[in-house]
Symmetry: none
Subunit: 127 residues, 4 copies
DNA sequence: GTGGTCTAGACCACG
DNA sequence: GTGGTCTAGACCACC
């Protein structure tokens, strides 16, 4: 069950996208699994259907899920290739994060430990 | 010289804030150094003075710089304490980044290597 | 209704910030209450929306209110912790005020009575 | 010797005005005493003569000091009457301070104790 | 010269 | 509807 923090400042649709990805990488959602319909999901999370729809559309554009008309929305298999653009974006964000971390006197070791922890958390959720 | 990507979608003032922090951690700007005046900077980056001012004000709120009315704006010494809120924010962002990275088949090792590289880049620029 | 004295020399946004805080401590505004929207408030007070926005942003930085994009701005619960910087500032201002008072032959007792009165006024407005 | 905090944000001339008043109420400066000349004072405090001059002019307007052309500037006797405008201003500032204090969970008692302390500090400096 | 405040008005993202 | 960003330009206080 994805959790939406309504006062985090982050757009709902982004939180939902991230939440779904999180459930996929952690194995809660598996390839072929059907997502809640837009209307169900919107009721579940008490948000506007348009917002859920936007998240689904963007996830579909990212090849994370696929919508079959009249059938529903399904999780796609994790791709084995990297999307250069996404990778580049991640690197850029990481670089910015490093500057902020450095400014807070967070050492490189600490930061790497946090990366490790995050990975463990994801894998640990696999059943 | 801070570079502003006018088509990145990121607000100019955030880019400027990050750019200035980058110059500070990398040693290009040292404590006590005077920043370009709001007007100079706005001319330099071809943006509105209000936008530069906004970045300066926010950096001042973060204790990164200090502005003396009628005098100018100056770099403060790097603090040695951590701001719990900022640290928490960094951890959260890192956690989200990890999910995206995992989705792109980027290994934990790879990600940690990038962290290390970013740190080296910062320190390598020290004179 | 916050009152703005347009000829007091004090910036509008500061007057608005103080006015909102006053309504909160006196119980007129309660945690969770929605503030007037930026546009409504600007119409109400006949000032520019940007000025209202500035006040709201600063109050948010002080953890007094919280704004949710596309939804509105809401009163936060009064915190139970002290912010050392704010406390220091209050002490400094009080010290300066004392000098001015002393210069006007205002006794310590009188000044303390005024403090008491101000507190009573705040609490008296509670419902 | 008045101390000017060049990075406090407060205008220099106001700091100087307050500093001189402080020296008067604490007895360091007595009625009839001669102040440093504008030029001496500006050298002493490493500030612009115009700034010192502005402070002196304003203090003269407040009947705190008096300038005799060709002679110098002298401390006037503490008046025994109150200036209604000044008193009103003090009350207003105190009222605003109370709101901020209340917001920081500072009790009425604490605030009154601080007032008492400030008064003691002033009187304690009397020789 | 410096930064600070305020206005007017445009455009965008979010829900 | 909401707030956020950006621009253009005016006026003021401080130094």
């Amino acid at each position: 069950m994805v959790f939406i923090d309504k006062s985090s400042g982050k757009p709902y649709y982004e939180q939902l996208m991230l939440g779904i990805k999180e459930e996929i990488v952690s194995g809660i959602l598996k390839p072929g699994d059907q997502l809640l319909s837009v209307r169900e999901m919107s009721r579940e999370l008490t948000m506007n259907p348009n917002t859920v729809s936007k998240a689904y559309k963007l996830l579909e554009a990212q090849d994370v899920i696929i919508t079959v008309k009249g059938k529903g929305t399904f999780v796609k298999a994790l791709t084995t290739e990297m999307d250069p653009k996404s990778v580049e974006k991640i690197q850029r964000q990481l670089s910015e994060l490093t500057i902020e971390a450095y400014y807070q006197n967070i050492s490189s070791e600490e930061l790497k430990r946090w990366v490790e922890d995050s990975y463990k958390k994801i894998k640990g959720e696999h059943t």
